[in-house]
């Protein structure tokens, strides 16, 4: 699966590079015209990560909700944040596990595409985030089986923890209807709180981060979003 994740990451990066390169190729060779600056509508874009529905379908023990927020700061730069909620409840012959918590990421996105049409709202972006999650979990029962000695049964009492991480992201957003966007993003997260994943029984899921027993986590989001126009920003447009 790790290999598949890397392949997905590589494939989509290649597609994004091609997308950005295609725009470069469309540039006239000897263009001496100066870019025009104009005011364009901007505001708060609120999105919902619908890929969490697929995650719940394939991994029924996980219930996740992720809300994406971003707000345009200037021509290319966006402030971005994700709010996440996770509830995990897993039970098999090896262990029973329960957890819940919330996560928050704060950071920026940078749009790699230069706008050529004032109202064109298509962006290929890269970004960085700092993430923080507060969650609690418990393992009411786990078993260490042995045919010879018999099974050992133990438990981990309910504990509350804080985890934080650094995150890099690339993605796209396309305006498919007026102020209505679809987009996806790839996320590579590096856990700063390494002590969390090295515990004797680490959390299965850290809200907003992913698998709590791994020091790095790959994720993909697919979001629907609505832009609430609130203000205007200056934008350079090459006509």
């Amino acid at each position: 699966m790790k290999r598949m994740s890397r392949s997905i990451f590589s494939t989509l990066l290649l597609l994004l590079t091609l997308g950005a390169a295609a725009q470069e190729a469309q540039k006239p060779k000897k263009d001496t015209a100066k870019p025009v600056t104009m005011m364009v509508p901007a505001g708060l874009r609120i999105g919902l990560d619908i890929s969490r529905i697929a995650v719940h379908y394939f991994q029924p023990y996980r219930t996740d909700v992720t809300v994406n927020l971003d707000a345009r700061y200037n021509d290319r730069l966006y402030f971005a944040s994700d709010l996440s909620y996770n509830r995990t409840s897993h039970e098999d012959e090896n262990y029973t596990y329960r957890s819940s918590g919330i996560g928050l990421t704060l950071g920026i996105n940078y749009n790699f595409l230069k706008r050529q049409v004032p109202k064109e709202n298509f962006m290929i972006y890269g970004g960085a985030r700092y993430g923080l999650a507060f969650y609690s979990y418990e393992v009411p029962e786990y078993h260490v089986s042995s045919d010879y000695w018999g099974n050992y049964t133990g438990s981990v009492p309910k504990t509350s923890q804080l985890a934080h991480w650094f995150e890099l992201t690339v993605g796209i957003k396309v305006e498919v209807l007026k102020n209505f966007y679809l987009g996806w993003s790839l996320h590579e997260r590096l856990l700063i709180s390494r002590n969390v994943s090295k515990q004797d029984f680490p959390p299965l899921v850290i809200p907003g981060y992913g698998k709590g027993y791994k020091n790095s986590s790959f994720d993909m989001q697919y979001s629907v979003a609505y832009l609430i126009p609130l203000y205007k920003v200056k934008q350079a447009i090459k006509l």
Partner: protein, 156 residues
Amino acid sequence: MKYFLLIAGLLLAGLTACDDDTKVCDTDTRTELRVAFVYFRDSTDLERDTIFPKVTFGALNKDTIYRRQPSLTGLQFQLDRVADSSRFYLQTDSTAAIDTITFRYSRQPKFVSAGCGVVMHYHLDTVFSTRRVIRRIQINQPAITTVNEKNVTLHF
């Protein structure tokens, strides 16, 4: 181009969501103590790995783990998961005297993966035995984990 990217991303997001670690256990979860036999030769003053012809081995008051097992160069077995010591008997040949070996250790349950669950890790503190056949006991690696390492050498 942008709509092609949207559709490609949708398909790949679906693929990424399939990654359920609780269904897969692809690592070795055995935490077994590994013992090697070494035989002391007086004539050359050297110790060499040795093979015993009919080894019988098991925990006291439990079933045998090895019953007259031929051609053994060592032992591989589980320690008690509930107690901090385990006692075993060892007979290297059907006519040889029986030695009793005691392992004292600390235990630590350790999460392996979402699919495999928890295994028991041990740390050997002391090992001692009767000296009918066994001459000396050496701890090589006190940590008993899923790593395949020689933990103890029995010198005969």
